[in-house]
């Protein structure tokens, strides 16, 4: 089986890889590029733990082929902090204790960032609907939503 040569930009850096035709973007990120921030919860699009953006669009990397990413720009959780400086969402997740085991957290942060880029002042209901595809078994969601709303407010104030 011949491998496919893919050229992408991941978190701003041009990245090339070879992948199998049926290999998912999630497997490429985790197993070939050692970007293990995106998690595999279900592998079927239900949990959102594998969330990344492709050309600015939030998607499940478990339901995207690695080969499809050729020529695309991909952003993952690894690109969220600016060096040592956490993104306001990351900071607020710590302050609000919006994570316990943490397996859902990278996907939720990526999804929440994508929400705030599209809509800097979401209502709580809008935030809950936007994040409905990100499952969390630990927190009960309330702290997550509070952290997102608080980060949104801080980002509005800063801009």
């Amino acid at each position: 089986m011949s491998q496919i040569h893919v050229t992408t930009k991941i978190n701003g850096d041009t990245t090339e890889y070879l992948c199998d035709p049926e290999e998912t973007l999630l497997d490429v990120l985790r197993d070939r590029l050692a970007l293990t921030g995106a998690k595999e919860g279900c592998g079927t699009g239900d949990c959102g733990a594998c969330s990344v953006t492709v050309d600015g669009r939030l998607v499940c990397s478990c339901l995207t082929l690695g080969a499809e990413a050729d020529g695309c720009e991909i952003d993952t959780i690894e690109g969220m902090a600016d060096g040592e400086k956490l993104h306001p969402l990351q900071q607020k997740f710590l302050e609000h204790a919006a994570l316990q085991c943490g397996i859902c957290t990278p996907g939720i942060l990526v999804a929440a960032k994508s929400l705030l880029e599209k809509n800097p002042s979401p209502t709580e209901e809008e935030a809950r609907y936007w994040l409905a595809g990100n499952l969390c078994r630990c927190t009960g969601y309330d702290k997550i939503i509070r952290a997102v709303m608080d980060a949104a407010e801080e980002m509005r104030r800063a801009s």
Partner: protein
């Protein structure tokens, strides 16, 4: 498996026609990849249509809208003119999955996956959508309801695929709506889905109507008796009750853990009535 990314419709058709084993189109992959992972389908060839010219466009044509086969639900929801013209089709598409699924899922994929519970399909049926199919013998336009033939199976022949969905021009005073029943508030499969589209004259009398019904038979249903109950009426309670009765009478559902025959049959009528009221309010502007 071989993965191909053709740049023209003709080369996609050639790839599909020339395939010796099983071949699948890849649009958003939100059905296909799930099926491949579970081993339900094991294609020898996957043809990604997203880089073909025109597949990503939403364009006005003869007063209607042509939606390319690779346009995602998110892109439809962001297109204001499309939302204004066909709010029912867009709301049906937007019910599919999560934000992440919306980033990839397509109308044509929802249709060609041929699930009886596909949400956008009853809305497209109500809209009178016409699907453009390219294949070895050229291009043909066919009514949307002729695509699914049974669960998981379409009428498309070897080498054929859907290149776009056309939503026709809207007369003034028209409206459409789609509602589904699911046990949760998000991320679930329709137990019943109903799309209604109607047009009123100046006096508020319904001059045209179409009703599409999902998840209550092996394929989507076009309920002509329900449309007939609306046409010529003012869509008042008597007409709506008659329409709901026609909808319930058309149901041929299965019994499963998600809904009994009696429940689905009843809910179909209720949803049809509610959807008709929303379509009516939209038609009245």
């Amino acid at each position: 498996m071989i993965y191909e990314v053709p740049e023209t419709v003709d080369s996609a058709v050639a790839l599909l026609s020339g395939a010796t084993g099983s071949a699948r189109i890849l649009a958003g992959g939100t059905d296909l990849l799930v099926q491949m992972k579970s081993g339900v389908v094991e294609p020898d060839l996957v043809v990604d249509i997203k880089r073909i010219d025109g597949m990503k466009s939403i364009a006005q044509e003869d007063g209607g809208w042509r939606i390319g086969a690779a346009v995602s639900g998110a892109e439809m929801g962001e297109h204001q003119a499309l939302c204004a013209a066909w709010p029912g089709v867009v709301e049906a598409m937007e019910l599919i999955g999560s934000t992440q699924v919306q980033g990839r899922a397509t109308l044509a994929g929802n249709l060609c996956n041929a699930s009886p519970a596909a949400d956008s399909v009853p809305a497209m049926v109500a809209a009178g959508a016409v699907v453009r199919v390219a294949g070895p013998d050229g291009v043909r336009d066919i009514p949307v309801e002729e695509i699914p033939v049974k669960p998981g199976k379409t009428s498309l022949g070897k080498g054929e695929f859907v290149t776009s969905v056309f939503l026709p021009a809207r007369p003034v005073n028209s409206g459409d709506a789609y509602l589904r029943f699911i046990p949760r508030t998000e991320m679930d499969i329709a137990v019943v889905g109903c799309g209604v589209s109607l047009t009123l004259d100046e006096a508020g009398t319904c001059t045209a109507a179409r009703v599409g019904l999902g998840a209550v038979a092996a394929t989507v249903l076009v309920v002509e008796d329900a449309a007939a109950a609306l046409i010529g009426s003012k869509a008042d309670d008597t007409a709506l009750d008659k329409m709901a009765a026609a909808v319930s009478a058309a149901c041929k559902p299965i019994d499963d853990k998600r809904g009994t025959v009696a429940f689905r049959t009843h809910v179909a009528g209720v949803l049809a009535k509610r959807a008709a009221k929303i379509a009516l309010a939209r038609a009245q502007g």
